[in-house]
Structure formats: structure tokens, C-alpha cells
């Protein structure tokens, strides 16, 4: 048996995973009966459908697909850098303030591009920080720490 359609195969695996997870988690809730459904009823049924569908897609990718299809091509850098830059912004916003967090966000996510240059990214970050300060802090009076907490004067 060969995986004839890897993308479908993985989709099937994903559906089975989410489907069974939903069913298992629903069992911890009250399922109830058809006339008086508990909070677990609908998600349990949906989970069942999703699992069945996942199995069907999985089997199809193994047995009933004509020809061989390609595996998905994964690039590690762009998703990892973009997503981690967003997470870093979330983590650093309070301790480093808006300016620090924006700087980190811009530098990290800029590295995802294959044309990354330090000088350009720093310049871009400076311009963006200025725009953010003017638009969000000055005009929209956005309630957020602007300076890093260790630099800010303690009120």
C-alpha cells in the first residue's frame, strides 16, 4: 500500500485527530439525549462526522486515487519567522513597550524574506515606529506602554 495522495492523506489524519479530540473532550461534558441535548451532544456528533470523513479521505488517498501526487513542499523559514515575530510582539509588548516590541517584530519578520538586509530592516523599523507613535499614540491615544518598563519614569 502506498500513499498516493500525501496531501489528502495528511488532511485525513488531521480530520481524524480533530474529530476524535472533539469526541473525547465532549465525553467529559453532559451529552444528554436527543430531546434534551446537553452541551456535549452537538460537538460529539460533529466530532463523529469529522472522524468518519477523515477516515474516508485517508482511505481514498491510499486506495482510490489515480496516479501519484506530490508531497507538500515546506519551507521552514517564512512561517517560523513570521509567526514567532508575532508571538514575540505579544510577549514583549508589556516589558519592552510599544517601541521595543515593534522593533523586534519588524527585525524578526523581515528576516523571513530572502532579500533581507540589516540596514534596510532597521530603517524600515525606524520609519514604522515613527508612524506608529504618530498614528496610534498621538492621534488615537492608544492605551499601551510606549517605552520599555525599565526606562519609563515610575509614576
Amino acid at each position: 500500500m502506498r500513499i498516493r495522495h500525501p496531501k489528502d492523506f495528511l488532511t485525513g489524519v488531521m480530520f481524524v485527530f480533530f474529530g476524535t479530540a472533539a469526541m473525547v473532550l465532549s465525553m467529559g461534558l453532559t451529552i444528554g439525549k436527543a430531546a434534551k441535548m446537553g452541551p456535549g451532544y452537538f460537538p460529539f456528533v460533529l466530532g463523529g462526522f469529522l472522524t468518519a470523513l477523515g477516515v474516508l479521505i485517508l482511505l481514498r488517498s491510499l486506495l482510490w486515487t489515480a496516479g501519484l501526487h506530490a508531497w507538500p513542499v515546506l519551507h521552514f523559514k517564512p512561517p517560523a519567522l513570521v509567526l514567532s515575530s508575532v508571538v514575540l510582539f505579544a510577549l514583549l509588548l508589556r516589558p519592552l513597550g510599544l517601541m521595543g516590541a515593534t522593533l523586534v517584530l519588524v527585525i524578526v519578520c523581515s528576516r523571513a524574506s530572502h532579500e533581507f538586509q540589516w540596514k534596510e530592516a532597521l530603517l524600515n523599523a525606524t520609519v514604522l515606529i515613527l508612524i506608529v507613535l504618530v498614528v496610534f499614540v498621538y492621534f488615537l491615544e492608544f492605551q499601551v506602554p510606549v517605552w520599555p518598563s525599565f526606562l519609563a519614569p515610575h509614576a
Partner: protein, 500 residues
């Protein structure tokens, strides 16, 4: 006469100075973001959703509609000038639009696309206004069973008419429905799938999901593709249409408008289907179909009019029945819910100013696009020459700050990153995220109606099949599935979506 009184109320709301400013701002910002290659109306709406939250509901919706039209217009600008469609509905515009641009007629293509959209918008606004009242009165007769069946019908319709694998699309809907269950169960007050995280008590934030799946994910995809763009270097001259162009395009605009208005009302209809159908129709009507794809102005006029008409009439099912027929409208529904307005037949009676104001503002938004955006096209073109590697950090910065501003917490930003990861995986597996969003929006409503319907029937599921209206919806849904599964039509459908 009631119609005129209603439209007058709408005008009063839409043309108030404040709302006019928001409409204008929305149209401009929408164009600004929408013009970026790889970013279409859905992504633009997702990215800009938080900017409208601090506004009163009417203004917020007017601004969002403005953003939507702006983004669509921006998307067609990119299609015509760069040959990179922002989203599926502009793919057809690329065919003849880019060829026209290469022949030095980019100005004419942009103008006819704006004028065609404007005409289509005017027509569709009237269609929407005429249909809205009777349809919403009709919807008042619906009980829980009817609503549940209608939602099944709507969800099935949205996948039948969409591209890609049907099985996967069904799975995406179910996944969306499940994600919609996260948070506090309305009926019992029990927390579901929240894993004890207090921020999840209200469910997964719509903004986080939409921005993750469409905004962040599409940025990653664009970086990955590293596509080379050949922007037209020659100067954009002459936005005026020649008499011959106008004569050739006018009937195409008319046909496109009719086609789009009709298809927009269907569940799953909307911009993609209608622009594609209008293009095919135009080719069929033409005396020399071989000129299409080589810069025929009718190949730009018809789909651009059609997608705008459809965009507008697809508000009909949302505002009268509460069913978003496609992703864009799901965004609108999400925005309405965030403002505490449940889309559905009650909107007309409980918020008439909002209802008619938004309808008329669509018309105003289109007018603004013709009057203001068209002359500004030079600026948008210049924006296209800014490299993407400098633009996407800016988009991310605004996304993050916008996300933080929704609830003043950083949890939403992290959740968005997670949704972005999900979106990236789905993209790699060729699963369309659109049905997921539709399921997410409809999930809680569907569950509520199912529970209520079954409670009233004391657990007898036959209630869905014995009430005539409910049965009709279910039979229609089943019929759509059967029709698409027939081998002949399936081949036709695959071919049709490939030609895009």
C-alpha cells in the same frame, strides 16, 4: 412608496458628514491594502476589522463596506497592472485586463472596471432594497427546524459552488462548526474546549481567527512564493474611454450586472462564481470569441460589473435570513455580532437606520471610488513599486496593534499566530479556509436551532422532514450534492475551475 421612504432614511444615515468620512476613509484604506499583490478583499477585511471596533455600529459597518469596495477595486487594479490577482474573483480580470495594459490601454481598463462596478452597484442596491423587506417578512415564519435546514442548505451551497475537493470542504465546515463551539455554552453555561483558559471563555475571537487564516497566512505564502512581478513601466495615460470602447463595453456591463445580481443571492454565490460566469457568458455572446484573452474590453467590463453586483446582492441572505453566503459576508456577520447585532430578519425592524444606511452607503462607496479613487490611481501604482519585503512588516505591525486594541490583551495576538499556523498547514494541504469561517459563524446558531427544534419535537428528528419549508431546504441541499457528484457535471466543474 415605502421603498423610497426607506431609501431616504438610508440616505440620511449614509450621507451624514461623519458616516461619509468613514465611508471615504474605508474606501481609501481598503484600496491601499487591497492593491497589494496577493492581498484581496477578504484579507483586507480581516486585517482592518479591529480599526472599526471603536466606532458606533452603523459607522463601523459603513466603513467596512467601504473597505470592501476599496479592496475589490484595489484588487482589480493589481490584476490589470501586475497580472497578480489579489483573490480568486479577480483572476478573470487578469485575462483581458493585463493584456489591455500591455497594449497601453491600462487607463481604459481601470476606468471601465470602476464605471462598470458603479453601474452594477446602483442596480444591485435597488435589487437589495426591493427584495429585503418581503424576504425578511418571509423569514419571520421560520421556526427552529426551518432555520437549521436553511443553514444546512446554505453551507452545502457554499461548498458546491466553490472550487476544490468537496470532501475536504465538508470537513472544513465541520472543523469550523467545532471551533465555533469553543467557549461558554449559551444554554447550559458550561465551558467547552476552553482548557481552563479564561480568555477562551467567550470563545475564539473572530478577529483572531479571520486575521490568522487570511491575513498572517497569506503574508507567509506571499513571502514564500517570492514571485517576480513585472509591473508596467510605461506611464499610465488617458483614463478616458473612447466612444468605441464605451459602445463595446456597455452591453457587457449590463449583462454582467444582471448575471452578478442573480448569482449573488444564491448561497455560495458571490464574487468568484459570478465574475467567472459573466466572463463565460460574454465569450459565448460575442461574435468573435477568439478576441477574448487578448485585451477585449468586454472581458474586463463583464466580470468586474458582475462581481460588484454579486458582492452587493449577497448581502440579501445575510441581512434578511442571517445566513452569510460567502467569506466576505461572514466577515460582515462577524463584525455585526461583535457590535451586538445578530444578523437576520430582525435587523430591518430593530435597526432600520443601520439596515438602510448600510445599503445606501454601498452606493455612496461606489460613487466615492469613481470620483476619488480613479484619479488617485497613479499613487496606487506607485505603491506597487514598493518592494513587498518592506510592506509586510508594516502590515504585521498594524495587525498586531489592532489585535491588541480589541480587548487590550496580548492573548489575542498569540491566538492569531496559532490560527496563522493552522492556516499555513491548511494551505499546504490544499484545504480552503473559507468554509471553515462560514461554519465558525453559523456553528452556535445551528446548534441552538437544532437543540430548540429537537426539544419542541420531544426528540423526534422527523420534525425536519415533515415541516414543508424545512423539507424543501433539505431536499434542495441533497439535490445540490447529488448533482455535483454526477460524473458529467463533476468533470465540467473541475474544468470550469481550472480555466480560471
Amino acid at each position: 412608496m415605502e421603498l423610497i421612504a426607506n431609501l431616504a432614511l438610508g440616505f440620511q444615515t449614509a450621507v451624514s458628514p461623519m458616516n461619509l468620512v468613514y465611508c471615504l476613509a474605508g474606501a481609501l484604506i481598503g484600496t491601499l491594502i487591497g492593491v497589494l499583490p496577493g492581498i484581496g478583499p477578504v484579507q483586507t477585511l480581516a486585517i482592518l476589522l479591529p480599526t472599526t471596533f471603536s466606532l458606533p455600529p452603523v459607522s463601523a459597518l459603513i466603513m467596512l463596506s467601504g473597505i470592501y469596495y476599496g479592496a475589490q477595486y484595489g484588487g482589480s487594479t493589481t490584476s490589470i497592472l501586475v497580472n497578480v490577482p489579489g483573490e480568486a474573483s479577480s483572476v478573470v480580470t487578469c485575462l483581458d485586463g493585463y493584456q489591455m495594459a500591455r497594449q497601453g490601454r491600462a487607463g481604459a481598463a481601470l476606468t471601465i472596471s470602476a464605471l462598470g462596478s458603479f453601474f452594477a452597484g446602483c442596480f444591485a442596491t435597488v435589487v437589495l432594497a426591493v427584495l429585503a423587506v418581503p424576504l425578511s417578512e418571509f423569514a419571520f415564519k421560520f421556526g427552529s427546524a426551518e432555520y437549521f435546514s436553511l443553514m444546512v442548505f446554505g453551507l452545502i451551497g457554499s461548498i458546491v459552488l466553490a472550487s476544490g475537493s468537496m470532501l475536504k470542504a465538508v470537513g472544513m465546515i465541520i472543523l469550523g462548526l467545532l471551533l465555533g463551539m469553543v467557549g461558554t455554552d449559551v444554554t447550559s453555561g458550561v465551558q467547552r474546549f476552553a482548557f481552563g483558559i479564561p480568555e477562551l471563555a467567550d470563545g475564539i475571537g473572530f478577529v483572531s481567527l479571520a486575521m490568522g487564516l487570511f491575513g498572517i497566512c497569506d503574508i507567509i505564502n506571499s513571502i514564500e512564493k517570492q514571485e517576480k512581478r513585472d509591473i508596467l513601466k510605461q506611464k499610465l495615460t488617458g483614463l478616458w474611454l473612447s466612444m468605441a470602447d464605451l459602445k463595446a463595453a456597455a452591453p457587457a456591463v449590463l449583462r454582467g450586472t444582471l448575471c452578478g445580481s442573480l448569482l449573488g443571492i444564491l448561497p455560495g454565490g458571490g464574487a468568484i462564481l459570478s465574475s467567472f460566469t459573466a466572463y463565460m457568458l460574454e465569450k459565448k455572446c460575442s461574435r468573435n470569441p477568439e478576441s477574448f484573452g487578448k485585451g477585449n474590453i468586454r472581458g474586463v467590463a463583464a466580470p468586474e460589473s458582475a462581481n460588484n453586483a454579486a458582492a452587493q446582492t449577497s448581502f440579501v441572505p445575510l441581512l434578511t435570513l442571517g445566513i452569510p453566503p460567502n467569506v466576505v459576508l461572514a466577515m460582515m456577520a462577524g463584525a455585526m455580532m461583535i457590535h451586538g447585532i445578530q444578523p437576520g430578519p430582525r435587523v430591518i425592524t430593530s435597526n432600520p437606520d443601520l439596515f438602510w444606511g448600510v445599503i445606501v452607503s454601498m452606493w455612496v462607496g461606489n460613487a466615492i471610488l469613481v470620483l476619488l479613487n480613479l484619479p488617485l490611481v497613479g499613487i496606487w501604482v506607485r505603491l506597487l513599486s514598493v518592494p513587498f519585503r518592506l510592506l509586510y512588516p508594516a502590515i504585521l505591525v498594524f495587525c498586531c496593534i489592532g489585535l491588541y486594541s480589541v480587548n487590550n490583551n496580548t492573548f489575542d495576538i498569540g491566538l492569531t499566530a496559532l490560527c496563522g499556523l493552522l492556516g499555513y498547514i491548511l494551505h499546504k494541504l490544499e484545504c480552503e479556509p473559507a468554509p471553515l469561517i462560514l461554519g465558525f459563524i453559523l456553528g452556535p446558531m445551528m446548534e441552538e436551532n437544532l437543540r430548540r427544534g429537537m426539544l419542541l419535537s420531544r426528540g423526534d428528528p422527523s420534525v425536519f422532514f415533515t415541516r414543508p419549508l424545512s423539507l424543501t431546504f433539505l431536499v434542495l441541499a441533497a439535490a445540490m450534492l447529488v448533482v455535483v457528484a454526477l460524473p458529467n457535471i463533476r468533470r465540467g466543474r473541475e474544468k470550469a475551475f481550472k480555466e480560471e
